[in-house]
């Protein structure tokens, strides 16, 4: 063992021999770290729930519809609006930060779909493959539109749950050929049952074809009804919506004072408020945890300072035996660091247990990841060093000659 190894080993032995003092010091940090890890577990749980909410309700999505705000209640396709083009989508994708994806959508009502002696009239959508991801739809069977279908303008179709039920009551729709507006299309897949959404749209009463197929064959027009925009951070939705509006006004050459010829729809404000609240809340708990940690650090510092006073003899003795002032400083710093880390370990386990317990009792959200462990490790290292430095310096400054002569305290 080298000299510094021996000194480190001695610090460990001394901590183990003086359990009472070590535990007292640990306690402060343990409480602080427990609060910190509980906060992390709960806020990560909350964030997970919020993200779930975002995904389920499409809170991270913006929708752009052709036609101004006043006309939104009339179906755009039926009004033959010719303002929104694929170029708009690509421009938004390229120029606006916080936009991760833009998908173009065409749709038209009253499309006839026939299989043998059964027929339905439904609404047809022409979309890109990433629409699936943006709208978070799932397939019950078969596959969704692919890039290959796009490139080939394939006559393939995916059916909504109700449409499939109506045409294929016995099932087995995938692979069959149906007639869509009199042209033959191969059924590629069937969507899972989605139900009617809040806006009254029945998502099961739909068919979906590749965008190229709809724009060149089925509808045979370049104009879009909709852009679907997915954002990276749902909390910046309002800002992103404003930039989309700005960009489209420029692209559509709309002069100041004129009305928009499109409508940007943001997700419900109520749910956005939930996002804001959650971030405020986790900020608040983080502040509380920080206060608890600093308090823990002060406990360490206090116990260390009184230990330095109590251990003046020991310090003097070690100096007489050949310890340098720097060895003494290192000894005390190492003690506070080790104690802080041990306290952190206890705290992280306690905090996670409490938070998981509360989560299990449905009182809070909870999600355990590696984050609290890393957070605790970092916090403890910083605390152990920051609050250990001053006592360690005091210890190193103890005059060996005088400390050895003083009567025991």
């Amino acid at each position: 063992m080298t000299r510094s190894h021996r000194i480190t080993a001695d610090v460990l032995a001394s901590l183990l021999a003086n359990t009472q003092r070590s535990i007292l010091m640990m306690l402060g940090v343990a409480v602080g770290v427990a609060v910190l890890s509980a906060v992390i577990v709960i806020s990560q749980g909350t964030e997970e729930r919020i993200m779930g909410l975002v995904a389920r309700h499409g809170l991270d999505m913006l929708m752009v519809r052709a036609g101004g705000e006043v006309q939104v209640f009339a179906p755009t396709a039926d009004r033959g609006l010719t303002v929104l083009l694929e170029g708009d989508a690509r421009a938004i994708e390229a120029e606006i930060p916080n936009v991760t994806m833009v998908s173009v959508v065409q749709n038209q009502r009253d499309i006839n779909v026939v299989y043998e002696d059964r027929s339905v009239t439904t609404r047809a959508f022409g979309v890109e493959p990433d629409w699936m991801e943006i709208r978070r739809r799932d397939m019950a069977e078969g596959e969704f539109v692919s890039e290959t279908d796009m490139a080939a303008m394939s006559r393939v179709v995916t059916l909504g749950h109700k449409v499939a039920q109506a045409l294929f009551p016995e099932g087995g729709a995938v692979g069959r050929t149906v007639r869509v507006a009199n042209d033959p299309y191969v059924v590629k897949g069937v969507f899972t049952e989605m139900g009617v959404n809040a806006g009254g749209d029945d998502w099961d009463d739909r068919i979906v074809v590749p965008f190229t197929t709809s724009s060149r064959r089925l509808f045979n027009r370049p104009y879009l009804e909709q852009l679907v925009i997915r954002t990276a951070d749902a909390r910046q939705m309002a800002n992103t919506a404003a930039r989309v509006r700005e960009l489209l006004r420029v692209r559509h050459s709309i002069a100041a004072g004129e009305e928009d010829d499109f409508f940007v729809r943001e997700p419900e404000d109520v749910e956005n408020a939930a996002l804001d609240t959650s971030s405020t809340l986790s900020l608040l708990s983080l502040a509380i945890a920080t206060v608890a940690l600093v308090a823990g650090g002060l406990v360490i510092m206090n116990v260390m300072l009184s230990a330095v006073a109590q251990r003046r003899h020991e310090i003097g003795l070690r100096r007489a035996m050949g310890a340098r002032a720097s060895d003494i400083q290192r000894q005390f710093l190492l003690e506070s660091l080790l104690v802080a880390l041990a306290g952190g370990l206890v705290g992280v386990v306690a905090g996670i247990s409490v938070a998981s317990g509360l989560a299990a009792a449905q009182m809070v959200d909870g999600r355990v990841t590696w984050v609290p462990f890393v957070g605790a490790l970092a916090a403890c290292t910083v605390i152990g060093l920051v609050f250990g430095v001053y006592p360690a310096r005091r210890a190193a400054a103890v005059e060996p000659a005088t400390s050895l002569r003083q009567q025991a305290v």
Binding site: M1, R3, R6, L317, R319, A320, R324, S326
Partner: protein, 235 residues
């Protein structure tokens, strides 16, 4: 071994400046057993601190084994304390909750060399003070005399050339004191240099040479009649 030349040292005690040493000059040869006597306040503790490199003189020169350490920095002084000097204190200063053996090994902690045989060396040192059978006991389980013997073993573990004993029998009864002095005596016979500070004339009488300090100056430097150690085991 030791060359002290015109050592002075003064302290500030509140508003008063106390001159503890007012120019002390003497030499100690290798293997000498020297007692420094003086009343409380005579400067003997200050002198011992300077000899032990725990304090530095304001002026004057202090050479230990030919090396001038009057202005040594902390690292150099610490290394010299570890290598060359063994301390024995009035209050023993053993670490509580630590076995006698591990107490003896304490100086090895700060040694520059990597000793793998630390435990064996500590056992040998305990043997020298006839305490092998108490190696695993903690200080509170030992008598005062035994504790001081552990402290002497600790002072010996790095085989220092110089042993500084500060009132080593001050806290001991007569019988234990005699045992401790016999051990020091034997170490001196074996060639170690020993400097013992005391205010007790009988204790001082066990040394070969007596320096008397009064008011920060050496006022007497006498060679004492030889006094061999009593046979081992009487203590």
């Amino acid at each position: 071994m030791i060359e002290a030349e015109g050592l002075t040292r003064s302290y500030r005690k509140g508003a008063v400046v106390v001159e503890a040493l007012k120019g002390v000059t003497f030499g100690i040869r290798q293997g000498e057993f020297v007692a420094i006597m003086g009343r409380s306040g005579s400067g003997k503790s200050t002198l011992l601190n300077i000899l032990g490199l725990l304090d530095r003189p304001d002026r004057g020169r202090y050479r230990l084994q030919g090396v001038d350490l009057s202005c040594a920095g902390d690292d150099e002084a610490s290394a010299a304390r570890n290598r060359t000097i063994g301390f024995v204190f009035q209050q023993f200063h053993l670490l509580e909750r630590v076995s006698a053996l591990r107490n003896v090994m304490l100086p090895l902690l700060y040694s520059e060399e990597d000793a793998d045989d630390g435990a064996a060396r500590a056992e040998r040192a305990l043997q020298t003070v006839e305490l092998s059978h108490r190696a695993q006991h903690v200080p509170s389980e030992l008598s005062g005399g035994e504790q001081q013997r552990v402290a002497i073993a600790r002072a010996l573990i790095n085989e220092p050339a110089l042993i500084l004993a500060d009132e080593p029998t001050g806290n001991l009864d007569a019988q234990s004191s005699a045992g401790i002095l016999d051990i020091l005596r034997r170490l001196a016979e074996a060639g170690r240099t020993i400097v013992l500070v005391t205010h007790d004339r009988e204790v001082a009488a066990r040394a070969d040479r007596l320096l008397v300090l009064e008011d920060g100056r050496i006022t007497a430097d006498d060679t004492l009649p030889s006094n061999p150690p009593r046979p081992a085991g009487v203590a």
